[in-house]
Amino acid sequence: MLRLRDVDVALNVEGRMRPVLIGLNLDLAEGEALGLVGESGSGKSMTVRTITRLLPQGARVGGSVEFDGRDVLAMRPAELRAFRGSDVGVVFQDPRAAINPTHRIGEFLGEALTVNRGVGKAEAARRAAELLASVGIDDAERRLRQYPHELSGGMLQRVMIASVLAAEPRLILADEPTTALDVTIQAEVVGILDRLRRERAMGMVFITHDLDLALAVCDRVAVMYAGSVVEVRSARDLHETARHPYTIGLLGSRPSIEERAERLAAIPGRPVSAFEAGTGCAFASRCAFARDVCRSVRPRLETFQDGLVRCHRVEEIHEHAVA
């Protein structure tokens, strides 16, 4: 359904072009949930903005973004509006920034229905109540009359999800949708997203810095570093099957709630952004396995053991680990 090939994106930062995505490849099947995981500057959010063509002015985009075989990068304004209005829906991290604070919840949802689906006012009101019920808000009558500031962050994120559902999209792009929420509320909101996307067979790109959360919600996970995907694996067993040194490093960096480790296997240094990456592997400066070839030649994203890995030495490293 969604296919990104060799996507390069550079932003205009004070007159200089600064790369944020480099040779990005991604595939999403109909109804599939794909997690995009990475640290700051890895390009997760830029990927969403590239797919929806919501990049800042002056951005330069190369490669191809296809949705259902249609070239998103070549869409003309009317086609792009239709694509954004009914094919994809975006759930952002901060619903308070995305929802007009001066409109009642009912007006906000009603607008999503009348503009995108062309339904009448009375019908819109009925459908808005239904949508709220589908995201677990039961006293719809009262909620529809309330203003955003009267709702908690968790409630407002449910309203945001309801508004995305209003357009009945085939693809949901969720950009850190629960990062600002308390963990018990996160569990509820993620549960709602997961149930709805399965019921409605929607595809989902779920962006998060929390690898374990992505593994719980997604079918496959793509790990990003410095503007590229470095590994793609099935979410089911990533803890055992991770092969890229960065993915393994990320798994070792998180303390466990189940047992206390003496020390964490921390990755040295700090995450680099795409514009700081040299000609070789972007992770080479932090990688214990890096050799000369890693510093000079950029590895390709290639198939390795039922997944994709961008690493020159993955075979050697794996053999060494198994031996």
Partner: protein, 307 residues
């Protein structure tokens, strides 16, 4: 296990349990310390904060942010204060460092009462040497014009009593402890990453040579790989200096990694406390159980029936 009894009863139950646990905790701890003669790092008893609030129509009411909270951080110990929004953990921290006056209750640091503001510069200096705090946001707590070296040396000048080469040696030691080389030590805050700034904030806190360090969501905003480095650093520092930690966090995995004991807060009240591993492995309180079960871990699945 949901108790069919009224709330008061289950509260009483968990209180009894938590008392037993904290007693065991204190014994093991003081046994490990030299003779157990050192006073606890922090003793909080009956701490309460009531705010007077007014609604949009100007009607006044009272809001209890922290209600009868008690806990002890043993000398050299490490305690995690966990809770979600509105749990009262931030208000508790603010009372501990004197940014907020308690409505009732008592705060003692190293056996000295802190329920009243410090009287005079000498007492303020003593308090600073007893306890320091590192906040979540290192961006706002550093002077943009100061280099790393100057920012840390400023604290040494005020609090260490060291001069000349001794102070220079201590400065070099601190820089080394938090992993700054010569070049980085000459950098200003805007040239540093979030993790580096947080390490400056930690070095500044340590420069006062405190016996107790409060970490208020101090690693929460950091990238995972940087967070791991800072957590290792905090473990090393405690092992090397015997400093006590009070960690305020919403992240149960971080609490488990750094803390011996834990206090779970909800709506300003302690719902459960005790040995960190014991509480997280077998929560006795229903809320702690929900909190624990909400954390995504390998094999965790979202609750699809969630309403």
């Amino acid at each position: 296990m949901l108790s069919p009894e009224p709330d008061t009863q289950s509260d009483a139950q968990s209180d009894t349990r938590s008392d037993t646990r904290s007693d065991t905790q204190t014994e093991t701890r003081s046994g490990a310390q030299s003779g157990g003669s050192e006073p606890p790092a922090i003793t909080v008893s009956g701490l309460t904060k009531v705010f007077r609030v007014a609604d949009e129509r100007g009607r006044r009411s009272q809001f209890t942010a922290v209600s009868d909270v008690s806990f002890t951080v043993p000398a050299g110990g490490s305690l995690g204060l966990v809770g979600e929004s509105g749990s009262g953990k931030t208000t508790t921290a603010r009372m501990l460092v004197g940014l907020e006056a308690p409505t009732a209750g008592r705060v003692e640091v190293l056996g000295h009462d802190r329920s009243r503001p410090a009287r005079g510069a000498a007492e303020r200096r003593r308090r600073a040497r007893e306890l320091q705090i590192v906040f979540q946001d290192p961006y706002t707590s550093l002077d943009p014009s100061q280099t790393v070296r100057v920012a840390i040396d400023e604290v040494l000048r005020t609090h260490s009593g060291l001069e000349g080469t001794a102070r220079a040696a201590r400065l070099a030691e601190l820089l080394d402890q938090v992993g700054f080389d010569e070049r980085q030590a000459s950098a200003r805050p805007r040239e540093l990453s979030g993790g580096q700034r947080q390490r400056v904030a930690i070095a500044r806190a340590l420069a006062a040579d405190p016996r107790v360090l409060i970490l208020d969501e101090a690693v929460s905003a950091l990238d995972v790989s940087i967070q791991a480095q800072i957590l290792n650093l905090l473990v090393d520092i405690r092992a090397a200096t015997g400093i006590a930690y009070l960690l305020i966090s919403h992240d149960l995995a971080v609490v488990r990694h750094l803390c011996d004991s834990v206090v779970v807060l909800r709506r300003g009240q302690v719902v459960e406390s005790g040995d960190c591993g014991a509480v997280l492995d077998a929560p006795a309180d229903e809320y702690t159980r929900v909190l624990r079960a909400s954390v995504p871990v390998p094999g965790w699945r979202p609750n699809r029936s969630a309403a």
